[in-house]
Amino acid sequence: MNLIELKGIQKSYELGKTTVTALRGVDLSIAKGEFTVITGPSGSGKTTLLNIIGCLDRASAGRYQLDGQDVSNRDFDDLAGVRNQKIGFIFQNFNLIPVLDVAENIEFPCAVRKDAEKPEVLRQKVERLAEAVGLKPYLHHKPDELSGGQRQRVAIARALITGPALVLADEPTANLDSATSEQIIDLMLALNREQGVTFLFSTHDARVVKHAKRALEIRDGVMVP
C-alpha cells in the first residue's frame, strides 16, 4: 500500500474576479520509505501540491489518501489531528518558536496533544532525537542562539518527534550555506535509510535532487511524466 495516493487533484484560487488554477489534475503515488523530490519552476504548483499533501490546504477536486485514510474532505480540526499524528514539517525558514528552547521546540507537537505523554517520557524521546541530529549540547539554547544549520536540525527533530509516516520539507536548504546544506541532506538521508522515514521535498537545489531516490517534476500544475 502506498503512503500517498493522489487522484485527479485540482486546486483553484479566487484572486479578485479571476480564478487561478494551480493544480490541474495531479495523480501521484509515493510508497513508504521513499526519499522523493518534487522540482519545478516558481509558480509551477509544487508548494500548493506540498500544502495539500501536508493537509495544510484542501484540494478543490480529486481524492487524497494518506496512509490508507481518505483525508480529502476532513474538517479543519480533523486535518490538524492528521498533521499531528502522521506528518512532520520542515520549513525553509525553520519556523521555530522563539520563546521555547531547543528541547521544548522539539517536543512541541507531542506536548500539544490531548493525550500528551508524561514530561519525563517525552524528554527522553527529545534527548534521543537531539542526539541523532547532533543537538544534545544545545537542548537548553533558544533558537536565536543557534546557527542556521542548527535551527534546521531542530526543525528536523521536531518533525520526527511524533514518529510521522511522512516528513514534508519545503526548500529545506534554501537558507543554508553549501556545507550546512550537505550536512542536512546527509542527516535526512541517514534518517531515511536507518529509520525508514518517508521524505518528500520541494526544492530548486540540485544537490538535494542529486541525492534523491526519486525525482518528480511539476510544471503548470501537472506532473511531468
Binding site: G81, F89, N95, L96, I97, P98, V99, V112, R113, R158
Partner: protein
C-alpha cells in the same frame, strides 16, 4: 500547563508592551478599589449619622403609626412599661432600648423689649417669634446608648441631663433664624418671661406649654431637617399629658447588619398590635442615595474597565499580527484552533491575575491607610463634622480578584478567535 508556560513566555517576549498593559491594569484596578473604598466610607458616614446620630437601627411603634405620622401620631401611643422594655432588650442582637415621643410643637421666643406702656405694639423687629418645630422627646441616658453619635455633634452646651430638665436642644440654623442663643451652662436661668415657650397640643387638642431654655445646638444631619428639636421625655410627657406613655422605641443592634433579623424577632415578640421597621425602611432616601452612588460607581468602573480592557485587546491584536507565522507553525504541527484560543486567553488571564493582584493589593493598602487616617468630609447635605474612613468589603475583594482576570481573559477572546481562524497555509507564508 504547557500552554500556560508558553503564555507566560510570550508575555515576557515584549516586556515593554506587557509592562504598559500591566501598568494600565494596575492603575485601573487601584483607581476602582480606591473609589469603591471611598464610596463605602462615605456611605458608612451617611448611615452612621442617621442611625447612630438620630434614628437608631430599629424602631417599634403602634401599628399604623408610620402611615399616620403626619396626622395623629400621638393617638397611636403605648405604655412605657419596664416589661415592654425588657421584652425588647431580650431580643438577640438588641443592645439598648430608648423610648421617645415624636410630636409637633410651637416654640415662641420672648419679646426683645418690654411692651410699651402706652398700649402701642412693639416694632416687628423687637417682637418675639413663634415657629413650628418637629420635636423628639428623649431619655438622655437611654438615648446615649442608641444614638451615641448625637452627643458628639452637640455644640455650644450639653444635652439635658435628665428627663425632667427644662432645657431643650434646637437645630443651630433654626435657632439662628429665631435669634435664640444657647443659655450658658452654670448661669442662673433668665426670668420666666425671658425664656422660650414650648407649646404643643395634646391628644385632645388642648394646647399646653412650659418655659424652656436652649441648652445646646445640634447641626443638620441631612437636607431639610432644620426645624427640629430635642426635648426631655418627662417634660414632653407633661406638656402632652402623656405621663408614662411614648410613641416610639428605638433599638440599638449589634452587629449592625442584624437589623432585619431584630426587626423580625421584635415583630414576633410584640405581636400584631405593633409595627417594627429597620432604619433602611424608615429612611428609604438613604437607600436611594447609596444606590445612586453605587450606580455611578458602576458606570465609572465600567468606563475604567473598558479603557483598560480595550488596551489589552489592542495589545493582543498587535501580538497576533506579529505572531502570524508562529501561529501558522503551531497549527501546522497539529495545534487545534481551540488551543490557539486557550493560549491567547491564558495570556490575558496571566496579565489579569498579576495586574489584578497587584492593583487590588496596592488599592487595598491605600484604602486601609486612608481609612486609618480618615478624610474629613461632611456627608452630603449634612453640617455635622464627619470623617470618611474608606474601607473595602471582602465581597468586593473577592469579586475584583475574580472579575479582573476574567475580564482580561474575555478581552483576549476576540484577538484569540482571530488568531485561531488563521489558515496555516497562508500564515506560514507571512514574512
Amino acid at each position: 500547563m504547557a500552554l500556560l508556560k508558553l503564555a507566560v513566555r510570550n508575555l515576557r517576549r515584549n516586556r515593554r508592551r506587557s509592562t504598559i498593559t500591566l501598568a494600565a491594569m494596575i492603575i485601573g484596578t487601584v483607581a476602582m478599589t480606591c473609589l469603591r473604598g471611598f464610596i463605602n466610607g462615605q456611605q458608612r458616614v451617611i448611615i452612621d449619622n442617621q442611625v447612630e446620630g438620630r434614628m437608631g437601627a430599629v424602631q417599634v411603634h403602634k401599628r399604623g403609626y408610620i402611615a399616620n405620622v403626619l396626622t395623629s401620631p400621638l393617638a397611636l401611643d403605648m405604655a412605657d412599661t419596664p416589661e415592654l422594655r425588657q421584652k425588647l432588650a431580650k431580643i438577640p442582637g438588641v443592645v439598648a432600648v430608648a423610648p421617645r415621643i415624636e410630636f409637633g410643637a410651637m416654640l415662641s421666643t420672648p419679646d426683645k423689649k418690654p411692651q410699651p406702656d402706652d398700649g402701642s405694639l412693639l416694632p416687628p423687629a423687637d417682637q418675639g417669634k413663634t415657629s413650628f418645630i418637629m420635636a423628639t422627646a428623649i431619655d438622655p441616658q437611654a438615648e446615649a446608648l442608641v444614638t451615641p453619635l448625637r452627643n458628639s455633634f452637640i455644640r455650644g452646651g450639653k444635652l439635658f441631663a435628665s428627663v425632667d430638665a427644662h432645657d431643650i436642644v434646637l437645630n443651630d440654623d433654626f435657632a439662628r433664624g429665631l435669634e435664640v442663643a444657647v443659655h450658658p451652662e452654670g448661669t442662673p436661668l433668665p426670668k420666666v418671661e425671658q425664656q422660650l415657650a414650648l407649646l404643643a397640643p395634646d391628644r385632645d387638642g388642648a394646647l399646653n406649654g412650659e418655659n424652656v431654655v436652649m441648652g445646646a445646638a445640634l447641626p443638620s444631619f441631612s437636607p431639610g431637617d432644620r426645624r427640629i428639636g430635642l426635648v426631655p421625655l418627662g417634660t414632653a410627657q407633661r406638656i402632652l399629658r402623656m405621663e408614662g406613655r411614648v410613641t416610639e422605641y428605638s433599638l440599638a443592634v449589634s452587629p449592625f447588619d442584624a437589623a432585619p433579623r431584630v426587626r423580625d424577632a421584635a415583630q414576633a415578640a410584640l405581636g400584631p398590635d405593633f409595627e417594627v421597621h429597620t432604619w433602611s425602611e424608615l429612611m428609604p432616601f438613604i437607600g436611594t442615595l447609596t444606590n445612586t452612588q453605587d450606580f455611578i460607581f458602576s458606570v465609572i468602573s465600567g468606563v475604567f474597565l473598558a479603557v483598560v480592557l480595550l488596551g489589552i485587546v489592542n495589545a493582543m491584536l498587535m501580538t497576533v499580527l506579529e505572531r502570524v507565522r508562529e501561529i501558522g507553525t503551531m497549527l501546522a504541527v497539529g495545534m487545534r484552533r481551540v488551543q490557539i484560543i486557550q493560549l491567547f486567553v491564558m495570556e490575558g488571564l496571566v496579565i489579569g491575575i498579576v495586574g489584578g493582584l497587584l492593583g487590588i493589593a496596592l488599592g487595598y493598602l491605600i484604602v486601609t491607610l486612608a481609612g486609618h487616617i480618615g478624610i474629613p468630609l461632611p456627608a452630603p447635605g449634612a453640617a455635622v463634622p464627619s470623617v470618611v474612613k474608606p474601607f473595602i468589603t471582602p465581597l468586593y475583594l473577592v469579586s475584583a480578584l475574580v472579575g479582573v482576570p476574567v475580564g482580561a481573559s474575555l478581552a483576549c477572546l476576540w484577538p484569540a478567535w482571530r488568531a485561531s481562524r488563521l489558515r496555516p497555509v497562508e500564515a506560514l507564508q507571512t514574512a
